[in-house]
């Protein structure tokens, strides 16, 4: 049942995957650094795999590119969630000065959600697609070699094992983990970012709670509506002349029930996950800020140590120089990423909230149509029959 296509097999361009990725392209951030895009990635076609040990879902990851870093212009591979998780970890490790986009939650958190249900899989697919597109858009991350392998390798597991061995040797030098240095004070601009992220995630949390509360109230409203409509029908059964009007009202309420159900589903599947994503994003960004603090703390500590020695050294030792470089690099990367993040965030929320408004408009339009259509039925004179 393994459906991974060998590298180089042309992907069907008439598939919906292509057109949806086209739409996504248009909605995301435009040219970065003035260049035209040369890398397009899409996640689609979820498939269930039933094996003796476990059951899991894979997604098709399709790549189209003109970049020299890729051997072929097109790739199509199959990946499962743990592959995405692996990629994210690798990116965090290898690009610690950058903001890595979040993944959808690993485990199903609350409720009796079936992790193989269509809605859950689709929600996850969209989030994974978003994840890869954000990396694709990033001028540094998109050139990361792990990302390249993720997109192209037929056997990712083999590469993973290889990577593990290397990592255990090189681990410490790659990571920016510094021991026990405490930063005295964050520079103003990063302090501002930190404060912003704190308030931002608080507000998102509130919005998440409100949205969930609304969905809950709507579902309770739906329960009552489902009892309400049929009573008109029962009444219609009692009457002669009023039978049709009452049946009409009953059917109308039924239509409103359907519309409401769709609205609640949409909000659950499209709205809430994006909020959660951004809350996860904020959390990981705060961690990056902390790492930056640590790097700066190390630099300042070492600088102080040198200053205390007070020798007539003509130049600063290279160790301290290296630290200074690290700090400056980190700051520059982080600032650039923050700016990009702010812009993307604005677009994402613009789209998200407009989407929420749209869903509500559609709900009311469906109900409006239903009620307007029964007015002539209600006004119908018996003589005209």
């Amino acid at each position: 049942q393994d459906l991974s296509l060998p590298n180089g097999t042309p992907v069907d361009t008439s598939s919906p995957a292509s057109s949806s990725s086209l739409l996504n392209r248009l909605q995301l951030d435009d040219d970065f650094d003035g260049e035209t895009r040369d890398l397009f990635v899409t996640v689609d076609d979820p498939k269930k795999h039933v094996c003796t040990m476990e059951t899991y879902i894979t997604y098709r990851v399709t790549t189209k590119t003109t970049r020299a870093e890729f051997d072929l212009p097109e790739y199509s591979v199959r990946r499962r969630y743990q592959d995405f998780d692996w990629l994210r970890n690798k990116l965090e490790e290898s690009q610690p000065t950058h903001l890595i986009p979040p993944l959808p939650e690993k485990f199903v958190v609350k409720g009796v959600v079936d992790r193989f249900s269509e809605e859950f899989v689709e929600t996850r697919r969209k989030a994974l697609d978003k994840f890869l597109k954000r990396i694709t858009d990033h001028p540094v991350l998109s050139f990361n070699e792990h990302f390249n392998v993720f997109l192209t390798a037929k056997d990712l597991n083999a590469y993973k094992k290889q990577g593990m061995a290397l990592l255990s040797k090189m681990g410490e030098s790659v990571k920016y983990v510094t021991g026990g240095y405490k930063l005295r004070s964050r520079p103003l601009e990063f302090a501002a970012i930190g404060e912003y992220l704190d308030t931002f995630s608080l507000k998102l949390g509130t919005i998440d709670r409100i949205a969930q509360r609304i969905i809950k109230e709507q579902l309770e409203y739906l329960v009552e509506l489902r009892e309400y409509g049929p009573v008109y029908s029962t009444w219609g059964g009692l009457e002669v002349e009023l039978s049709e009007p009452l049946e009409g009202v009953s059917a109308c309420i039924g239509n409103c029930c359907t519309a409401l159900e769709e609205l609640s589903e949409d909000m659950t599947e499209d709205f809430l996950p994006v909020l959660r994503e951004y809350m996860l994003y904020s959390e990981s960004m705060k961690n990056v800020l902390k790492k930056r603090d640590q790097v700066q703390a190390e630099y300042e500590a070492k600088l102080e140590a040198v200053a205390l020695k007070k020798e007539d050294r003509p130049k600063v030792p290279t160790d301290v120089e290296k630290c200074q470089d690290r700090v400056e690099c980190f700051n520059a990367d982080l600032k650039a990423d923050m700016e990009r993040w702010q812009n993307n965030k604005r677009q994402d929320f613009r789209q998200l909230l407009m989407g929420m408004a749209d869903k509500n408009i559609q709900y009311y339009e469906k109900c409006l149509t239903a009620w307007e259509s029964i007015i002539p039925l209600l006004q119908d004179k018996p003589e005209t029959k």
Binding site: R213, E217, Y221, E224, T234
Partner: protein
């Protein structure tokens, strides 16, 4: 076809006022008084406006009027009064009789009651009704003087008749069944509607929280700030809009309630028929048994068992003179009974005829009114949907400027 009172006279219940007074056991009580205003309708209708007459009545006086009408015109489906106590409330409305919204809706209900009576071809001609509208003091005495309370059938008598009647008119049996079902279905509908209103209120109000959080969020944003802030304002508007929407829906609920209570009036007419029919059956039975007794005495045969028969067997027969006397009494009773039976039969047929005529009139009124009520309900829903579209479109526009 005589013109109904409603065509000659404008009737309104224009105001409601809280009053305090002393009740029958000299305890202080608070009640609401309603101002009834009447004015003659000018046929010429130019410039000249007839003066307005007015008087105050409280709910218990309306009840007295209705009781009088029900007893005096048992063949008529008498319009019902608005509910005495607030029922089928959803949580925001209070069940308090003194609550201004309840009083206001009751005022409208009482006006509606008066207009219904005034437009009824039979009821509008009633003198007691006329003096209810025009004579403030002494009306209660006039009503009581009619002695209508004596004419009222006891509940027990009515219940008895319902169980024991053998041949009621099939149409009335069906009608009674219909009114039972109608009462049941409208009650159910009103109960669920109240729950629906409750839930809908919750949905709208929670959206108000968006207003606050968008406002707070906009404070930390640069480009997104304005769009968020103004969208939040629209969320507040959305949350606030539900109050008016549900207030309007209460009028629809009141229209349904009127017909819920009308079902009871229908049942009352059916009960009266059953009572009259039972009375007739009893009278016929009594007559038959008297005729039989007479025959037995005359021929000397005992066909039916009677205590008298047994005692006379045991203690000796009566004298021929005694027997003659008895026969004579019975013959008189029989004659009386036959006349009574004839008139009861006539009464019964008249009742059925006139009751059924009013029932047909009522059916047409009901179909018309309920259709109108459903249309107005649909119109309310359409208005609510349009408001919803408007608000969310405005919000969407604000979001687009983020």
């Amino acid at each position: 076809m005589e013109d109904c009172l409603v065509k000659k006279m404008e009737i309104t219940v224009s105001e409601a006022e809280k009053r305090t007074g002393r009740n029958a056991v000299n305890m202080q009580e608070t009640y609401t008084a309603y101002l009834i205003e009447t004015r003659a309708v000018e046929s010429q209708g130019e410039g000249q406006c007839a003066p307005v007459d007015s008087l105050w009545r409280r709910y218990s006086e309306f009840e007295l009027l209705r009781n009088y009408l029900s007893v005096t015109y048992p063949h008529i489906v008498v319009p019902p009064l608005p509910e005495k106590r607030a029922d089928f409330v959803w949580h925001k409305l209070s069940a308090d009789n003194m609550d201004p919204d309840f009083v206001e809706r009751r005022r409208i209900g009482l006006e509606n009651f008066l207009l219904r009576v005034a437009s009824h071809p039979v009821l509008c001609q009633d003198k007691i009704f006329y003096s209810f509208l025009t004579q403030e003091s002494g009306w209660k005495e006039i009503v009581n003087e009619t002695g209508f309370q004596l004419k009222a059938d006891s509940r027990l008598k009515a219940l008895n008749a319902t169980f024991r009647v053998k041949n009621p008119d099939k149409r009335f049996t069906e009608l009674k069944h219909y009114s039972d079902e109608l009462q049941s279905v409208i009650s159910h509908l009103l109960r669920v509607r109240a729950r629906v209103a409750d839930r809908l209120y919750g949905v709208y109000k929670v959206h108000g929280n968006y207003g606050r959080v968008f406002s707070e969020w906009s404070a930390i944003e640069k480009e997104m700030g304005d769009g968020l802030q103004s969208a939040g304002h629209h969320m507040d508007v959305y949350a606030a809009s539900i109050d008016d929407i549900l207030e309007e829906e209460e009028h629809y609920a009141d229209q349904l309630k009127e017909y819920l209570f009308y079902a009871e009036a229908l049942r009352a007419v059916c009960r009266k028929h059953e009572l009259m029919q039972y009375d007739l059956e009893m009278a016929a039975q009594d007559l038959t048994s008297k005729k039989q007794q007479c025959e037995e005495l005359a021929t000397g045969t005992v066909r039916t068992f009677s205590l008298k028969g047994m005692t006379s067997k045991l203690f000796g027969q009566e004298t021929p003179e005694q027997r003659e006397a008895k026969i004579k009494v019975l013959e008189e009773q029989i004659q009386e009974g036959e006349e009574q039976l004839k008139s009861k039969n006539l009464e019964g047929r008249d009742f059925v005829k006139s009751a059924w005529a009013d029932i047909e009139r009522f059916k047409e009124q009901k179909n018309h009114d309920l259709k109108e009520a459903l249309i107005s309900y649909a119109v309310m829903q359409i208005s609510m949907c349009k408001k919803g579209i408007q608000v969310w479109t405005n919000a969407k526009e604000c979001f687009s400027k983020m």
